[in-house]
């Protein structure tokens, strides 16, 4: 039933944390919602495995970048909602600029012609 989705891309090591932090910038969410948001927003190119998602969430919680609370989901069930802490917000800014620098650097090497043309 998911055969229509294009070939998936493996998440690079360490980028899941960044994507989780960015997803929580729009507001608190539970694990399942975070996974679905990343999947949908990436046009199904990125698949978040449950086996990496929950360890990552708990690791981020341990670092104090996100905070967890039991709340009711929109269907009235108890769910563990994660929200960004001020520390996490700062971390997101750092990770984001690191990622953008890396992406630019790799782009410069992969497309030298583009740069020469400009």
């Amino acid at each position: 039933m998911r055969a229509h989705t294009p070939a998936r891309v493996e998440l690079l090591q360490g980028t899941l944390d960044l994507l989780i932090l960015r997803t929580l910038l729009t507001g608190p969410a539970h694990g399942h919602a975070i996974a679905k948001h990343i999947q949908r927003t990436s046009e199904e190119l990125l698949q978040v495995e449950t086996g990496s998602l929950y360890p990552a969430l708990h690791r981020l919680e341990a670092k104090g970048w996100i905070d967890a609370n039991w709340e009711r989901s929109n269907k009235g069930k108890r769910a563990r909602f994660y929200k960004l802490t001020p520390l996490g917000r700062r971390q997101l800014a750092t990770e984001r600029s690191k990622w953008e620098t890396l992406a630019r650097a790799i782009g410069l090497i992969l497309n030298p012609a583009d740069q020469e043309a400009q």
Binding site: M1, H30, G31, H32, A33, K36, E49, T50, G51, Y54, P55, A56, L57, H58, R59, A62, K63, G64, W70, S73, K75, K77, R78, A79, R80
Partner: protein, 139 residues
């Protein structure tokens, strides 16, 4: 709050946190199944599909607990506990094994301390290398 104190608190709350983690993953499973039911699967099919999606539940739990830290000390405590249980389970074998080790280590230690004083360490006098032994041969 300091990350270290958070982890220390989690160590104390470990049993209740483990239960919460199970509930958290159960919620994930239910959400996934519901979503698949909305896609048109029957309840049964949706549940199985969700289980397949999440994979090995026990492994997910274990990996997540590893994120809390303390896995090393916990495993060490488990190993020690397991060792003690094995000792109790077969006392005569354990006694022989312990006696063998004790005699072996004790014997070697005694022999080494004798060799050490006699052959390796210098004698406890100044200029020990200039000591000579004098005796009378009355034959």
């Amino acid at each position: 709050m300091n990350a270290f104190f958070r982890k220390l608190r989690w160590l104390v709350q470990r049993p209740s946190r483990a239960r919460e983690l199970q509930e958290e993953l159960r919620f994930h499973l239910e959400q996934e199944a519901e979503e698949r039911q909305d896609d048109g699967l029957t309840e049964d099919e949706a549940q199985w599909a969700a289980r397949r999606e999440i994979g090995n539940l026990a492994l997910v739990e274990e990996d997540t607990r590893a994120a809390w830290g303390w896995t090393g000390p916990e495993q060490l405590a488990r190993d020690i506990g397991y060792g003690l249980r094995q000792i109790r389970r077969n006392p005569s074998f354990s006694a022989i094994a312990i006696a063998t080790l004790a005699l072996g280590i004790g014997g070697i230690a005694a022999m080494f301390s004798a060799f050490d004083t006699v052959l390796i360490r210098p004698l406890p006098y100044t200029n020990a290398d200039r000591l000579v032994m004098i005796w009378l041969d009355m034959g």
